[in-house]
Amino acid sequence: MQVLLAITIGLLYAAGIYMILRRSLVKLIIGLILLGNGVNLLIFLLGRITKGNPPIIDESMKAFEGAYADPVPQALILTAIVISFGLQSFAIVLIKRVYKVVKTDDMDELSINEDDQR
């Protein structure tokens, strides 16, 4: 399981970096989304995977018995997902606005000519 996850994380990072190096704005956003998912899996993997032991104390007990999953990485991932949800929806609105104003999806055509503004 760990090896599989490690490979997946590597693939997600590689694909994400490849995508943000493209010139298209849509691909840039897809790249950032892939990288974000890669990070979430990385936190999940590095927080140690424990199978079948939820971090909930039984009502009859006072403390944990035996092995239990660490709840912190899940809290971290949830926070990261919420944040990337906000950022990504903003990103989509942004590129849509950019496309409407500049009429291009190409990063190279976004460069500003200094002399003809202001």
Partner: protein, 502 residues
Amino acid sequence: MTEQIILLPILTQAVIAVVLLFCWGRIRVQQIISIAGSALNVIFAAWLFSSVWQNGMASVQSGNWEAPFGITFVADTLSATLVLLTAISGLAVSIYSTATIVGVRLKFGFLPILHFLLMGLCGAFLTGDIFNLYVWFEIIIISSFVLITLGSEKHQLEGAVKYFALNMLASIIFLTALGILYGLFGTLNMADLAGRIAAVENRSLVYVCALFFFVGFGIKSAVFPLYFWLPDSYHTPPTAVSAIFSGLLTKVGVYALIRVFTLLFTDDVFIDTVLLGVGVLTIFSGGIGALVQTNIRKIFSYLIICHIGFMIAGLGLFNELALAGMMFYLIHDILVKTNLFFVAGLIYKIKGSNDMRKLGGMYKTHPMVSLLLAIPLFSLVGIPPLSGFWPKISLILGAVEAGNYIVTGMLLFGSFITLLIIARVWAKVFWKPQVETKKRPDFVYFSAFSKGRKFMILLPVAMLAVVTIYVGFGAEHLNTLAERVATELLDTKPYIQNVLGK
């Protein structure tokens, strides 16, 4: 006592922002609440600062969970000072924006977002938990994205795309570093981490983690190889936005670097060398970049980069003198850089352009305003006794004490090139005879503004200039403060004890 008021600056900004959201669309009411709230926040921040100054640092556990498990908020001298500076710049920007931000931007919620941004800044300075720092960073960048795109002018959107892409990448890198850190130590409380990192034997993994942090914060604070987004985006939004960005957003990156590299990854030869090298190259490239520009707002953007280098180099030197110099420089820089963009905005309002080739004759037509603008410009250079002079002395003495003459030379080079650039700006904008330009038909010039509006534009510039003059003439107080911060940064034991309660 101090424990009770640590969260006050954050909560004040949050409450102001929510109240402003309720007043959606009622612009006049929003402006009054924003200014009154910011003034109130300055009082609270000053209260927190004086309390920390008298009683020493304090920490509060949010939600009453015990220290390494819950989220801690810590107010030491560094944090309290920065919160106070945030409040002062926030008030200045709030006043300035009522006079300069008009129409459609205000309708789409400029002021509430500004206060969310200030809330994020206060939170980032006060938190003692590194994942919480990430969350505050995200609040800061989401609000800054909205501020930079609000209005959707063409060049503004172009700058925003670059700003957005690089900052989001920085957050992802920061999060990766957090993942590795948690995997290594199983804790995210900075005080709890501090002791454990030094004890790890696998140094290479620690270095990988440290470098991820460095790249993440480095993009945000615009250090040498990672600064290219800054000059392309900072001059595009309205002046009030550029002012808060240049004064505080890059500095929050510097603050994070200071925290992480004094508390977590301390005094390691490898890391200090990286910091010094990057600092020196940042001074050099920022200075050279500023030389060739003709748009004053772009010149100031490059100068931000150049002066970030001073602080990074001071952090890399890591002795008491240099750290005190760095801290003093940080205080001076926040005030002056915020004011500098106000100056650029004011020149734009008076002359209708920010291009040095089309400007000139400011001193002849507006002598009093020019004298006012001279204060931030010349304190940036560090002409004694204005504020930039004293921290540079401490930094250079620190570099000499460390026996590092390359850094000493580079700090002198940086000061010299700043002098050259500001002298050029002064000569071309204020002294050179007015270049004949056509009046822009659709543009409202400063001279056509009402008295009240002129006053509202000049007031924040004057306010920050007064604070700058105080920093220059009251350098003795500031130096005591900077030395106290340096001592706290060098000896982290009280910080750790205060948070963990051992």
